[in-house]
């Protein structure tokens, strides 16, 4: 910035244009006047005459002055004059730049870079060393101070990260090499982050801190888990109007495009953050196509929610004996299945033929021996369907049980009654689930017991097909793949007749896990691994701006790290673990930052009375006057000579 007394110029080099004004004066003077059109009967006498010496008529001096003044005002205005600009930065000491580099910094990233570049060029001009703390959680060790000019290159290459801004946990260690009398420029993303207060205190102790707040509000989008999926839009803006949320997916032609536009509901303001719920009220066919939600006009990873398995509603077909009368509803196995599945899935009920026409993702057969012989059902499973079967008295009584097709294991005829009135044993509990199975991590309630079950014939692969077992080691749930699909068998009933599993919360969770593992868009390639994995492999990774980048370079993420949310090494994106596809979304709860003891720069523009607008308005007014004057001149001349 160039300072001339109380007047400062943001881009002083434009003032060179003022030197061109005298030249402009001469050019304007020499401009030929517009010719007049005259009706003259004696024109014939003029034919063939040559102009002796063409003479340009001079523009009146006041018109010239008006034009030159207008252009001068334009040049001055373009140079960004500021009346009494407040001194930039605070001190003259070594410059430390703290750059919040999480997703919240993404929307106005270029402005931030420009602001830092300005500070760097100033520090370079003053010969001060500079250091830059990039708060994306990857900074390590003490910050090196180097000539300010060398930081410009890395700064230009810097991109915001697809996770929250993170500061090094120990400010003292990071600032070990810092000289005293620091001048700190903190490019804040406007949100509060862990360790922020600690860093602010440490920096305030070493120098004066200038905080550059972000331009505009920050927005975060989050998926609200639940029966009825919804999005939660948080913003630091207090205004009444909120941007829409765009649902983007693949249309039937295979082109990614905006499929729907969701409007936020009424806002709830709390602690400076306005929260709005965005219900996802879409038909399930459309919802299954959605790949991501994003806040309109907000290029930030935090404003993007990637859709994963949890969002897609499965179509589940229930087939069973539902002839029980009203009084016996609690005895019907379909009743428990319905109650467990209805909140999270779209249920279809009917005969097998009707149900297959609706192309369900999952078919549940409750105690239906003989139905497995239908070739249509086998085809459906081989094409990727998930068939869940429950046994029951009818299957136990079936004579051809050992020949029953579409079962993961061969069943032994006759049931096993372990807790009945005529049995010796106690009802069996359920063994905790294996950590690598589809039910990994589910908590087994102690009071869930099984009184009767159908046993599998011993076979070499029985153990590998069992995904849940009773405390005595007998299988409770077995699974096998058939073609591209799978067969799952519960060795007990879906009602409370043989087991109280159906009335425990575990039943709901187990069904949920199974249904979620069903494929919605059945991939052509057969699934290679069916076990729950301890690692999540990135399939698709977002950058800080919420754009999709190549996931090839990213390494698999350990499940423990994955559970902690996006972090360095685990950027927001879509991860695959075995059969499940899970999204890691950056957006979450936000809290506005609180700055005590720091000077806050108002906007990225230097404060002071900016005269640019006034000067340009003045130039416009002068040009208007010039137009009026020219018109008046031309009119006067015409009248005089007409």
């Amino acid at each position: 910035m160039l300072l001339l007394g109380p007047l400062g110029f943001l881009t002083p080099w434009i003032l060179i244009g003022l030197a061109a004004l005298p030249v402009l004066w001469l050019i304007l003077r020499a401009m030929p006047p517009t010719p007049k059109l005259v009706r003259f009967p004696g024109t014939r006498l003029l034919l063939g005459l040559r102009d002796p010496h063409p003479v340009a008529r001079h523009t009146p001096w006041w018109l010239l002055l008006l034009r030159v003044l207008a252009i001068g005002a334009l040049i001055l205005g373009a140079a960004g004059p500021v009346w009494k600009p407040s001194p930039e930065g605070a001190g003259q000491g070594p410059l430390l730049i703290v750059m919040d580099a999480g997703w919240a910094a993404a929307p106005d990233w270029p402005q931030r870079q420009a602001r830092v570049l300005r500070a760097l060029s100033r520090a370079e001009a003053e010969g001060q060393p500079a250091a830059m703390l990039i708060a994306d959680g990857r900074a390590e060790g003490a910050l090196p101070f180097q000539p300010a000019g060398e930081l410009a290159g890395p700064l230009r290459a810097l991109r915001p990260a697809a996770w929250e801004t993170r500061y090094p946990p120990d400010p003292e260690a990071a600032l070990a090499a810092a000289p005293s009398g620091l001048s700190v420029l903190w490019l804040s993303d406007g949100l509060d982050h862990p360790d922020q207060a600690k860093w602010l205190a440490a920096l305030t102790a070493r120098g004066n801190v200038t905080v550059v707040p972000p331009e505009g509000p920050r927005r975060a989008l989050e998926l609200v888990p639940g029966d009825q999926p919804a999005l939660r839009l948080r913003t630091t803006a207090s205004g009444a109007d909120a941007p829409d949320v765009l649902a983007i997916g693949v249309d039937p032609q295979g082109t990614p495009r905006e499929l729907a536009r969701l409007s936020p509901a009424d806002p709830v303001a709390e602690d400076g953050v306005t929260t709005r719920l965005v219900p996802i009220t879409l038909p399930s066919e459309l919802r299954n196509r959605i790949t991501r939600f994003e806040v309109e006009g907000n290029a930030s990873a935090g404003a993007v929610v990637l859709a994963d398995d949890s969002l897609r509603r499965r179509k589940v077909a229930l087939i069973g004996d539902d002839r029980a009368s009203e009084g016996q509803r609690l005895l019907s196995p379909l009743h428990y299945l319905r109650r467990a599945l209805a909140p999270t899935t779209d249920l279809i009920e009917g005969g097998l033929g009707d149900v297959l026409l609706a192309t369900p993702d999952v078919i549940v057969l409750a105690d239906q021996p003989g139905l497995g012989e239908a070739p249509a059902l086998r085809d459906w499973v081989e094409q990727g369907g998930l068939l869940i079967r429950f046994v029951g008295p009818r299957m136990a009584a079936s004579e051809r049980l050992s020949d029953e097709p579409l079962l993961p294991v061969r069943l032994r005829a006759g049931g096993r009654d372990v807790g009945g009135a005529l049995a010796w044993g106690e009802p069996r509990g359920i063994e905790p689930f294996a950590p690598d199975g589809p039910f990994a991590g589910l908590e087994v309630p102690g009071d869930a017991t099984v009184r009767a079950q159908l046993l599998a014939e011993p076979a070499p692969d029985l153990a590998s097909r069992t995904i849940a077992r009773l405390t005595d080691g007998t299988p409770l749930v077995t699974r096998a793949s058939l073609g591209q699909g799978q067969l799952v068998l519960f060795h007990t009933t879906a009602n409370a007749e043989w087991s109280n599993l159906a009335i425990s919360g575990l039943f709901v969770e187990m069904l949920d896990r199974l249904v979620r593992s069903a494929r919605v868009n059945r991939p052509a390639a057969p699934e290679t691994d069916q076990a729950e994995q301890p690692f999540w492999t990135p399939e698709l990774v977002l950058d800080g701006f919420g754009r999709v980048t190549e996931a090839e370079a990213s390494a698999p993420v350990a499940a423990a790290d994955f559970a902690r949310g996006p972090a360095p090494g685990a950027p927001a994106g879509l991860y695959r673990g075995g059969e499940r596809l899970k999204a890691l979304n950056a957006g979450g709860p936000i809290r506005p930052a609180n700055w005590h003891g720091a000077r806050i720069e108002r906007g990225t523009e230097t404060p002071g009375l900016a005269l640019r607008g006034w000067l340009i308005a003045l130039a416009a007014a002068l040009f208007a006057l010039d137009a009026l004057g020219s018109a008046w001149l031309a009119r006067g001349r015409q009248r005089a000579l007409a």
Binding site: T43, L45, L46, V55
Partner: protein, 289 residues
């Protein structure tokens, strides 16, 4: 400017209002004008005695002047001097350029030419002459002035730059008065003069010009267009053309003046910035002489 025969006539009368003093001061002119009939200095139909001549074969008995014949042996026939009233034909150019007026305060050249023509007509008619517009039969009487005024006013302006006087309307013994700016092609006028002198017709060329056409006051860049727009001349420095234009105008006048002298005609100029009476007086004197 709205034009009507009544207005033209009123203005012509206003213009001629200055004439009586003029005529009084020029007694000879007025006296010569009053008779109206002009002796042809030869025998013919008339009222004045011309000569006695011996009767020849073919003279009827009724034509013999017996009183004179009684004084001698031969028979004499009394001849009268042939008398014919003077007729004047007036022509005003209808070219588009005649509608030009250099400023709103001045009359157009055509208005001024019509005013002069009608004033002249009225003066001639009151002198007993027969007057007509070129191509029409000349008639005497005050009503003729009304007719001529009517014709002048209703006559449309041409959209051409040139208008030539009708050669076929020339009659021997006529006096012809041509009003024009003579800024167009001069050749038709020169041909007309040659033809007129061949027929023994005498007359006057009256060049009516606007002061702008005489002074050429323009400066700077000007796009000149003729009245009809057919001819144009663009210049960057009109002031520099002034002397050349004035020289050409003088040359044009000299050509016309020379041709008029050769044909026994008169050539006069009139400026619409000047009073019409001046031109009228000159016309009067020229027609009389």
């Amino acid at each position: 400017m709205s034009r009507s025969a009544g207005q033209l006539r009123a203005r012509a009368e206003a213009a001629t209002a200055a004439l009586p003093a003029l005529m009084l001061s020029a007694e000879r002119l007025a006296a010569a004008l009053v008779p109206g009939a002009h002796g042809q200095r030869r025998a013919g139909t008339g009222e004045d005695f011309w000569q006695y001549r011996p009767a020849t074969t073919g003279d009827t008995a009724r034509s013999i002047d017996w009183r004179r014949s009684a004084r001698s042996d031969a028979q004499f026939v009394r001849d009268r001097e042939a008398q014919v009233a003077q007729s004047a034909a007036i022509w005003i150019s209808a070219a588009a350029g005649m509608d030009y007026a250099g400023s709103a305060e001045r009359q157009t050249k055509r208005d001024r030419a019509e005013l002069l023509a009608l004033s002249l007509t009225m003066a001639l008619l009151s002198g007993g002459e027969r007057v007509a517009l070129a191509g029409q039969p000349p008639r005497p009487g005050r009503l003729q002035a009304d007719r001529i005024a009517e014709t002048l006013v209703t006559r449309p302006t041409l959209d051409r730059d040139d208008d030539a006087p009708p050669v076929e309307a020339l009659r021997p013994g006529q006096r012809v008065i041509l009003f024009d700016d003579f800024l167009g092609d001069p050749q038709p006028v020169l041909d007309y003069l040659a033809r007129a002198s061949g027929l023994g017709v005498q007359g006057v060329l009256m060049q009516v010009l606007d002061p702008n056409e005489e002074a050429f006051p323009w400066r700077g860049a000007v796009l000149f267009r003729s009245a009809s727009g057919a001819i144009g001349h663009d210049t960057r420095d009109a002031a520099g053309l002034r002397s050349a234009y004035l020289a050409r105008l003088a040359e044009r006048r000299e050509t016309l003046s020379q041709a008029a002298r050769t044909a026994g005609w008169h050539f006069g100029t009139h400026d619409t910035g000047a009073a019409p009476a001046q031109a009228l007086l000159w016309l009067w004197s020229v027609l009389e002489g």
